[in-house]
Amino acid sequence: MKKLAKQVIFYSALLGIWALLAKLRIWPPYLFPPPWGVGRALWDGFADHSFWIGIAVTMKRMLIGYSLSIVLGMILGLAVSSNKFLEETLGGLLVSLQSLPSICWIPLAVLWFGLTEKAILFVVLMGSLLSVTISMEDGRKQMPKIYGMAGRNLGASGFRLFWSVLLPASLPFIVTGMKQGWAFAWRSLIQAEMIFLSLGLGQLLMMGRDLSDMSQVMAVMILIVILGYMVDGLIFRTMERRLQDKYGLTPA
């Protein structure tokens, strides 16, 4: 409760300073809107359904692109971690490709797929695929060897050893990779939407800019933060913490 009280005080103070600065009119309101202006933009956005549509479109793309990257990333990660040759060749390439910001894939995606849904999904996929692959690979390596040995000792081998021992044993690492992949995918998607102008939250943000409507810009930014936090901070972090407790990875 104490933590909550601190947070309430902090955010009230933040809002207070914001309101005060807006009241003082140091900057014109169309550049620095007051909190109630942003609140009104949020209200209007939900009232005329444009925010609901934006959220729905963005989340649908997220789900498709992200699921694809999870499936492909796991397959790639497994292949790389279980084959010495692939690890030394493809593994290195994947790590170096990760230094490429996902927005750099947009020109390529546009030329390959045109200004289509496919191009956006491609950018999302490239944004999170590499991080999922790399953490899957790390997970297989960091997984305590004892589980594999215990499994073989108790008569497991081949696919059953993989399915009932190696996979669950590396689950905490996989979830960490999934969480990271989500964060990357989320950023890539918003970036791509800002350039493509095809509905979605990114487009709503750009629309605010085009209309010089700073209130809408800030309202959408707040939406993106809240949505991103809800999935990343609440769903994934809870899952991660539960698994780590269960697997004894955190000091009790």
């Binding site: 004892i146 040995m149 000792n153 108790l154 008569g155 021992v165 669950p168 044993a169 004894g248």
Partner: protein, 310 residues
């Protein structure tokens, strides 16, 4: 073989009768001298359950030189025997268990079970690891059931066996708990139940009680002795604690420090159940410890020499 009324599932005792005098004949090449405490009568000859025939293991050190970890180890373990292996740390006693379990290949020599050479792991030999290696994603019951599932045993039979072995280690109440919810001693018992459930002929235990407090360890000694008597398994138990070895073992094998060889064997002919604080146990342990001390000194000397060289 009698069925205990508490335990619904009667296990098959894989070896000969538990009662009476076990055979004490050391066949083949005697690798070491044998000392008996006090003398015990020698009866019939039995095919060894596990036999190690000139087992050697060498590995490449980081410096590039070839190091000999185990040097031509000959050892025979009779069916139903409780054999303890002691030695200074670094003598390769844990490695020896991994070789018997088939989790690691030896450089030369043979591991024979019932006279047949084995390669690779098999559920006739189950190793209880020093770190246990219990699966945190499964419940206590799930862990015990794991080996049975791998053996494709029917669900009904699995259920029966899980119940039987959990009751044997007094953990039936904790069947649906997860491993992280248990104490150290309880985890040891889960590991024991998981190993016993597959009904191996040979149970290999790698310093299983090293990390436990004294009271818990004493309790588990009693339980292990009881379970050994009830199930009639052959047990090979590795420890660095000589007292523990004498408390549990029919025979104690002392290993030398690097390369690991069998230095000496001691027959422990003390009445059971024993207690770790018993004077006979302490006296026997002291004799073995005197022998072991030379090896410990050797291992320390080598460590200090390494330091000086640096």
């Amino acid at each position: 073989m009698s069925t205990s009324p508490r335990n619904a599932y009667p296990p098959a005792v894989p070896s000969g009768p538990r009662t009476g005098v076990r055979a004490n004949v050391f066949q083949g090449k005697p690798a070491s001298s044998v000392t008996t405490f006090p003398g015990r009568p020698i009866s019939e000859v039995v095919v060894p359950k596990v036999a190690l025939d000139a087992i050697s293991l060498s590995y490449k050190a980081t410096s590039g030189e070839c190091l000999l970890a185990l040097d031509r180890i000959d050892l025979e373990v009779k069916p139903g025997e409780f054999l303890c292996i002691v030695g200074p740390s670094g003598c390769g006693k844990s490695t020896l268990l991994h070789l018997i379990a088939g989790l690691q290949p030896q450089t030369s020599g043979k591991v024979l079970v019932d006279g047949t050479p084995v390669s690779g792991p098999g559920t006739d030999r189950i190793l209880i690891f020093q770190e246990l290696g219990l699966f945190p994603w499964l419940t206590v019951g799930g862990n015990v059931e794991f080996g049975l599932k791998m053996k494709n045993i029917s669900k009904a039979e699995r259920e029966e066996k899980v119940q039987y072995y959990l009751r044997l280690v007094h953990l039936l109440k904790f069947r649906d708990s997860y491993i992280h919810q248990l104490s150290g001693g309880m985890r040891q018992r889960v590991a024991l139940a998981r190993a016993l459930a597959t009904e191996p002929d040979v149970l290999l235990m790698d310093e299983p009680f090293g990390a436990l407090d004294a009271q818990t360890r004493d309790l588990l000694h009693d339980e292990l002795e009881r379970i050994w008597a009830e199930t009639g398994r052959t047990i090979i138990f590795v420890t660095h604690n000589v007292r523990e070895a004498v408390r549990l073992g029919d025979r104690v094998v002392l290993m030398t420090f690097r390369p690991g060889r069998v230095k000496q064997e001691f027959l422990v002919n003390l009445p059971r159940p024993r207690h770790i604080e018993h004077t006979d146990v302490a006296r026997t342990a002291r004799d073995i410890l005197d022998c072991l001390r030379d090896e410990i000194n050797k291992s320390l000397e080598e460590e200090y020499a390494d330091e000086k060289a640096r």
